[in-house]
Point group: C2
Chain length 204, copies 2
């Protein structure tokens, strides 16, 4: 009986150790897959529940955006966080591809300060790249937090830039790159598989 | 003795169930943090070990890049994967801010097909945004896989575009946005904290 007891205890401990090891002590492989899954699982979400997005989640979205790299570390981004209903509705009315703003509890406008870092003539589009990288970070963070979002283009469409500038009172030296509606997703949306080997050239 | 045995078995099973539950059945909160950590942990890595980056990891980098969103779903990106030593060295010589290519086992050039989707005059920079989002995905995937990488700018610097075009034999309608050296990091690099509340405006 003693021996049986000992075997059972040892077996239990062994199972416990194996379980802990499998789930905890190989963080690299699991975490890698979690990040890759987020990158591949993210997709454009255009329908949202009414529920507001809590402030601490909005801050996480902005923190993620600002963690992007930027040319010469200029960090030219500026963010407009809109939850005011009539502003969201006005934007929905005036932006041709952002009608879903009428049903979104939140929108974040990613904009670029075109004077920051005093760009020379070959650096005038740096803010576009930097703000695009920041936007992608924001979209991934939203997806990782269970939120849905979609990048709707603003710059360089003249009418869209003017509409956003007017409704958000944005000064001339700041250009809105996009408007990103955010909310808890309504319904399920499958991400597209866009892998295309034909777009890769190798120089080995 | 029977009862003791039963108690021990039940206790073991309970511990096992709790452990499994804690580690497996609450993926949301843990996975969210893993993704946010990757976004914040990524930083520009400019020194690499000699070790080659395995092909399956290169493919994961490209898959992540192609999972980015694109305007009108045009997916204008093209990728040049360079492991050929003399090409890497030539690029290092001719690109002013990509000298680290001389010590990198791999570089990926993210380029845009400027004819894809027949852009009108307000859509001519869409490839810049789309390729920037793809580049950010690639950088995050590299970080998540334990690799180091850095975005070195090419477009629209005329001399850099010409150098890359020449060494990689890129046709005229494709513009190289950047060159991203990739490798296993040499040494430790702390990410910058770029959070700046002053860059956020609220419209509530």
């Amino acid at each position: 009986m003693r021996i049986k007891l000992l075997i059972i205890i040892l077996l239990s401990v062994k199972i416990l150790v194996i379980t802990l090891f499998m789930t905890h002590f190989k963080p690299f492989r699991k975490d890698t897959q979690v990040v890759l899954n987020a990158i591949h699982g993210r997709t454009s979400i255009r329908a949202y529940q009414e529920q507001a997005v809590p402030d601490h989640m909005v801050e996480q979205l902005l923190r993620a955006a600002m963690a992007a790299p930027s040319s010469r570390n200029v960090q030219p981004w500026e963010f407009y966080v809109v939850t005011k209903r009539d502003v969201l509705d006005s934007l929905a009315r005036d932006l041709p591809f952002a009608k879903m703003l009428a049903g979104a509890p939140l929108a974040i406008v990613v904009a670029g300060n075109t004077e920051k870092g005093s760009p020379n003539e070959e650096q005038v589009y740096n803010w576009v790249m930097d703000c695009s990288a920041a936007s992608q970070n924001l979209l991934l963070a939203a997806h990782a937090m269970g939120l849905g979002a979609v990048w709707t283009g603003v710059w360089p469409y003249r009418d869209r830039v003017e509409a956003v500038r007017r409704h958000l009172d944005i000064p001339d030296h700041i250009l809105p790159l996009n408007v990103i509606p955010v909310g808890y997703p309504e319904g399920e949306q499958e991400p597209k598989d866009k892998w295309d080997e034909g777009k890769v050239r190798y120089m080995r």
